[in-house]
Symmetry: C2
Subunit: 400 residues, 2 copies
Amino acid sequence: MNEPVAPGRVGDVRRRNLSLVLDSIARTPDAKPSRAQLSAATGLTKAAVSSLVADLVESGLVSEVGLYRDGERGRPGVGLELSTRRGVVGMEINVDYLSAGLLDLGGTLRIHRTLESGNRGQSPESVMSLLAGLVSDVAAEASAAGIMLLGGGLAVPGLVDSAAGTVATAPNLHWHGVALQLDRLLPDAPFGTVLHNEANCAALAELWYGHGLDFRDYLFISGEVGVGGGLVIGSELFAGPRGQAGEVGHMVVEPSGPDCSCGGHGCLESFAGQEAIFAEAGIAPGAASERLARLGEHLASGDPAALTAVARAGHYVGIAAASTARLMNLSAVVLGGHFTQMGPWIAPAVVESLADYAPGVVSPARVAVSELGQSAALLGAAGIALRSVLASPFSLTTSG
Amino acid sequence: MNEPVAPGRVGDVRRRNLSLVLDSIARTPDAKPSRAQLSAATGLTKAAVSSLVADLVESGLVSEVGLYRDGERGRPGVGLELSTRRGVVGMEINVDYLSAGLLDLGGTLRIHRTLESGNRGQSPESVMSLLAGLVSDVAAEASAAGIMLLGGGLAVPGLVDSAAGTVATAPNLHWHGVALQLDRLLPDAPFGTVLHNEANCAALAELWYGHGLDFRDYLFISGEVGVGGGLVIGSELFAGPRGQAGEVGHMVVEPSGPDCSCGGHGCLESFAGQEAIFAEAGIAPGAASERLARLGEHLASGDPAALTAVARAGHYVGIAAASTARLMNLSAVVLGGHFTQMGPWIAPAVVESLADYAPGVVSPARVAVSELGQSAALLGAAGIALRSVLASPFSLTTSG
């Protein structure tokens, strides 16, 4: 029902209705609805929908597609979809690589570039310079393809304050209390760049593009140099009272365990982080991607040290998952990050450990391995930016 | 702003406004606002407030109190408060006692009766008969005091389905898949009796009447025969996707620990539940209340076995709290149930363990001991019932 509109509120109502129409188009990406269908779906008059769609098309957010037969009446119509000529950029700073990728408004990852880079202990300025270069390459490619960039999201493996654009602490980068110059990354994009926690981004990517389509409530555990996580409750990320929930890597899984970089000891990270697994598996030092590849070979060839290392990691991941499932009433677990590559070996160990420590709580069918791989955090950061654009289309339209 | 009211919505608006006025009275229990003050606070006209208050007074939910000088203008007015002649009943079934208490609408616990009763392994029917007897005693006392009962809440130490009135599992009672005959308890109360999880009730009591007034986000850990818990986020109970969050007693704190009644092992309950503490402290078998009293004496006299047992429990409570604080971004811990009686001995051990396993996450000043004692669960169950009544006053008024 549309309520009576008092004078002076017309602008607000038009903004709300722009969002309503855009949301209707976004929710049904395969339907490519006509103006008449949008009118039926939103309860707005056809005249209002036509005017709103004109704005959305003019702003470039929405495109008209082909001729379209409008159901039983047989009148030809024009379908509408989110424009593939507008996009957002997902970016990631991790310990040993940088990456940037372009997601078009339709949700397709069109460009994805990764740069190997040892960022641990490097100054935020120098890392941001490298990233700005990579992003500018992506922007040039986008421009050549006729795609305009509207905004971006940057994922960093640490506790961040998104509103302030600061990293409180990213232990594996050795960054503490750092303000990042986000303006450098996409200087011309109207929505700018917003900073996020990497594991939360990966959890959201999983929610929007991965197993979130199957599960509504789950713990996402992502193996990286550290072990990050994200909690999804009712298909929404649970960020905690200060936005820093999901630190599953620092749950205590072995009270007598080794000291951890966080100052505690016996943390999950000490058993399931990359260093711990590589050391236990006897993988010689080197670049993380090479070591991961070598671990994969050793696992495939049945090397006992590799199998033991990954089984041990899975055992402790299962303990953390058991405690989390009990505490938060969750019934599914999704393994991401480097656990993806170890999937066939680590998932059974997690299942066994869950059966051992929390029988009947998480069924084996609800222990899943992410299929998004290393692009998860980038995809999540881009997805957040995409949703910001769709939530505020009026800032790009002339009448909003 | 009051929006224009379409025909047919008058009933809805009156219901909303009844709640609005009642809520204004409930929020300022000490202010005893006049009708004029309620008009100012709600934005409703004085005529509307007078009509709504008349309904609330007639229904018995609100009482007029004394003569009241209305601020600077010096006109005498009548103050309004929630009636102390209406009340709700909080009830608790625990392993070794039953209890029932009357909370008046003003939030004062007027009657509190406890019956020692070994309920473990007893049939739900026989336990409910005993409880019904106790509740009927409370109802008779209430009636003699001129207090009408409107509804009740029953706390049970297990996983429950409140809507269905069933206990999925209460391991320490040996109840599994049990439907309780809640209708027997308060047959004449218009709001009936609703079933709740005991630890959640205790956490809510803490929120409404205890440390929740200081902390907005905390883990409540309650020692009983088992160890229960509740998670409070933003001053609200986090119940989890299926209402069963807070099972902190079954978080894994020692992977090589003993088997637990839940089928897992190394659970917190195995170290901080009553049996574990009594056994470690060398307290001979007997009624729980007597054993707790004896433990208190041993602690006060510096008995090494008692001190070690409680320090060990605190150590493991600290580990579970450290993991929870990391996972959910919480920064305070409240100890309740039998931990209350052990407060001076267990709290330092929890503080030390938190500093050891999650340094800087929960400051010592934010580890608190509940002051509600054994009435917490009952108080929480009653508080839920009280809030139900205040949320739906129209069901008791003639014009609603």
